[in-house]
């Protein structure tokens, strides 16, 4: 067991303002950044606000920015830093701050509601669903998402442009559209809902310039860009920029 004293800078404050506060704190073998934040709470700053829950990388609550990079505090081991390094911890910088390390992630819940839910197929009773493993594989990858919202935080479309928030669902919820569009039994199209088209028209898929930061920060290792966003872009092309399909829909519209 070797322990040492580390230097931390933790952002403290609220929507009125705030700044980086310096701390010196003990670090023991095998600890993660969240342990250090907890030690600060227990010994130096009992009212230091932080969200956390499972502490095992499964719930996605303790998202923050550590040395400027969006990460889960419970999965960032202290051993990745040198002992001399000053470690800076700030709240997510794409969302409004509530207090200290806690931000208002309501944006994500608003966006979640805007994606139309799974549409069960007509005429199939519970217990009659039959799906092949190869058909559910793709959507299952996206359902590994723990909703830590690090991808939403790092995406420059909204991080650097507050004004894009109304028009852009963000990687997490575009991935949700992809998940439903690839669900083998989703019956949205039977009800007249074209998820491929709405991905671009209503959820802002066009804002994505596939610079892949969402994939880089995903703690679950989901290939968000390659497996969800780009395939969704290609599906939108099928609907909107394929001249044959476009011509066909024009003719159908005229004749009806």
């Amino acid at each position: 067991m070797s322990s040492y004293e580390a230097r931390f800078k933790v952002w403290r404050g609220d929507v009125q303002g705030g700044g980086l506060e310096d701390f010196k704190v003990e670090v023991n073998d095998g600890e993660v950044v969240l342990d250090i934040i907890h030690r600060l709470q227990a010994t130096q700053a009992p009212d230091l606000a932080v969200r956390w829950n499972c502490k095992a990388g499964k719930c996605g609550s303790c998202s923050a920015e550590i040395n400027g990079r969006p990460r889960l505090m419970c999965m960032t081991r202290m051993s990745v830093f040198t002992r001399e390094e000053t470690i800076t911890v700030t709240p997510l910088r794409a969302f409004p701050v509530v207090r200290d390390l806690v931000t208002d992630v309501g944006f994500n819940y608003t966006k979640a509601r805007e994606v139309p839910s799974f549409v069960p197929p007509e005429g199939l009773a519970p217990g009659e669903y039959r799906m092949m493993q190869e058909d559910v594989d793709r959507s299952q990858e996206f359902r590994k998402c723990i909703e830590c919202f690090l991808c939403q935080d790092t995406c420059h479309v909204v991080r650097d442009h507050e004004e894009n928030k109304p028009a852009f669902a963000g990687p997490r919820f575009l991935m949700r559209v992809a998940e439903l569009d690839m669900h083998p039994l989703d019956a949205a199209s039977e009800t007249g809902l074209d998820r491929k088209k709405t991905a671009q028209d209503e959820h802002g898929l066009g804002y994505c310039n596939i610079t892949k930061c969402c994939t880089e920060v995903c703690p679950e290792g989901i290939k968000i860009t390659d497996n969800a966003l780009i395939p969704l872009k290609e599906r939108a092309v099928d609907r909107k920029y394929d001249p044959l399909v476009w011509l066909g829909s024009k003719i159908r519209r005229r004749s009806s």
């Binding site: 700044g19 400027g68 058909d135 420059h156 991080r159």
Partner: protein, 273 residues
Amino acid sequence: MATGTEPHLNSGGVRTGTRAAITAPHLRTDRWWLAPAATAAGLLAFIVYSTWRAFANADYYAAPYVSPFYSPCLAENCEPMRAGPNWDLFGSWWGISPAIIILIFPLGFRLTCYYYRKAYYRGFWMSPPACAVAEPHKKYSGETRFPLILQNIHRYFFYAAIPVAGILTYDTVLAFRDENYEWGHMGLGTLVFVVNIVLIWAYTLSCHSCRHIVGGKLKHFSKHPVRYRMWQWIGKLNARHMLLAWASLVSVALADFYVYLISSGVFDDPRFF
């Protein structure tokens, strides 16, 4: 409360008034600038080199090798290549380098490629320069409007890239002739061409549009077992799309440079048999 309380900021992006008041555009301590800088340098080097070579209109043919920049050669002012990719479709009015006619297609393919988009959006346009590093632009509309909405035509360039790759394959086959057009030859140039065409195909087939067309667009893989297997195979290539993009970019430039060296007489093509 916290020390060093800062005045309230409100200049957009991470400095929007409701967000945590931090002046720095980013707090990254690692060398985040290295990747975009290297990308930009690499792409820039290729642009300079390829522009010189494309407009040079010289030293692109040394039997049996034709530079991939000039293949197929479709104007009357092309150097004659016996049984080579050399069809006089454009006639005599085409005055400038015939490379320009054909380079449009690979250029368009790479320009709209999902990997290169990431590379130049980050490297040149700094949108964003790196993850969680603020971008310098006030406005951002991504690929929602003209001209960037045109990125959606990537798949048509993919279609065009297939015959181009086919012709380069043909060139590679022809590289097994010697300078007198006799079969049964292999030189160092042949090897360079083989490596290049393998990388070109791997890059072309690993394209995201290709992955979509082959199988990605399907809702039920279980009903299309052959396409499912092809999709899986292309998926494996696709995971290395970035690597293949760079490798094929370097190899195509090397193949051209090799032809240039032979053609301009710097040295003779070493022969294996």
